[in-house]
């Protein structure tokens, strides 16, 4: 599995920690987005053509995303079981993500949708989450995971709020692939092979850019493999 290559955080304030359960999750500030965008562009500038092409294909084409991630799931994350072309492209993305990690000096809180089984609905979602994600449970990602730094960006009919939850993940890892403050886009690519631990589960409120509020079930996760790198 690719190892973490995160840069040092120059100040504890630049770490991002999980919000309190009753805190309203708000969009990322303009200053935060600008700073992350600067680091993103600096990292892209240094990417070799092969890593750029492999990453671009993975994150911009849903069919490619499914193909490579399904292959990783079938192999339980072991790239040695994949064909040469898939293994080569995945390892190029691994190295690209590590380049983004080296260029980043901030912590992240990343949100991703998780769909619950078909038998789950509004009336039993709370109990299902409590039973399946008790504090201390370890969650593994064999595949690449996509998400965003804000909750409103991952709203979708494919993960309706009465049959899905949101993973709220504190980590230093992955690649910020969002934009600066001109576009509502704070996308983030997490590396394959991550290990996170459940820190809590509850319902949480979030604010959209237009000021309206939304509410989702959240499972809070903390990265188990991130190095302590604060100066």
């Amino acid at each position: 599995m690719p190892r973490a290559t995160t840069a040092k955080v120059p100040h504890p304030a630049m770490e991002r920690t999980l919000p309190e359960p009753d805190a309203i999750r708000t969009p990322l500030s303009s200053r935060q987005r600008k700073a992350r965008s600067v680091n993103k562009r600096a990292a892209q500038e240094r990417l070799p053509a092969t890593q750029y092409a492999a990453t671009e294909a993975l994150i911009s084409r849903p069919e490619r995303w499914s193909e490579l991630n399904d292959a990783l799931s079938d192999a339980a994350g072991d790239v040695q079981d994949l064909d040469d072309r898939q293994r080569r492209d995945i390892q190029r993305v691994d190295r690209a993500v590590q380049a983004f990690e080296r260029a980043n000096d901030r912590g992240h809180v990343v949100y991703s949708n998780v769909r619950m089984p078909a038998v789950i609905n509004r009336s039993n979602l709370d109990g299902f989450v409590r039973n399946n994600f008790p504090t201390g449970t370890v969650v593994y990602f064999d595949r690449f995971t996509a998400g965003a730094h804000t909750m409103h960006e991952i709203e979708t009919d494919a993960a309706p709020e009465d049959r899905s939850v949101v993973f709220e993940m504190q980590t230093r890892r992955g690649a910020y692939l969002g934009y600066s403050d001109s576009v509502d886009d704070t996308s983030h690519l997490l590396p394959r092979g991550m290990r996170l631990q459940v820190a809590g589960a509850h319902r949480a409120t979030y604010r959209r850019p237009n000021g309206t509020l939304g509410s989702r079930h959240i499972v809070q996760l903390v990265d188990l493999d991130e190095p302590s790198t604060t100066n």
């Binding site: 562009r41 750029y52 911009s60 849903p62 409590r130 399946n132 990602f141 960006e153």
Partner: protein
């Protein structure tokens, strides 16, 4: 005008359907809450919504 790097490549951008997609994961419960027959953990492909083998708790 859109930003391009010094190699003339456009800025990397994630497809919105990928960003909003569902994550796939495996879980391993804490030891004191894990029944003997689930000690290896439960695999959940969220994209196909397979439930864990057993719900502890």
């Amino acid at each position: 005008m859109s930003w391009t790097d010094s190699h003339g490549r456009p800025e990397l951008r994630m497809h919105p359907d990928i960003k909003r997609g569902v994550a796939s994961y495996r879980t391993e419960k804490p030891l004191e809450q894990t029944a003997p027959d689930t000690a290896d953990g439960a695999a959940v492909d969220s994209s196909t919504a397979q439930p864990p083998k057993r719900v502890a708790g």
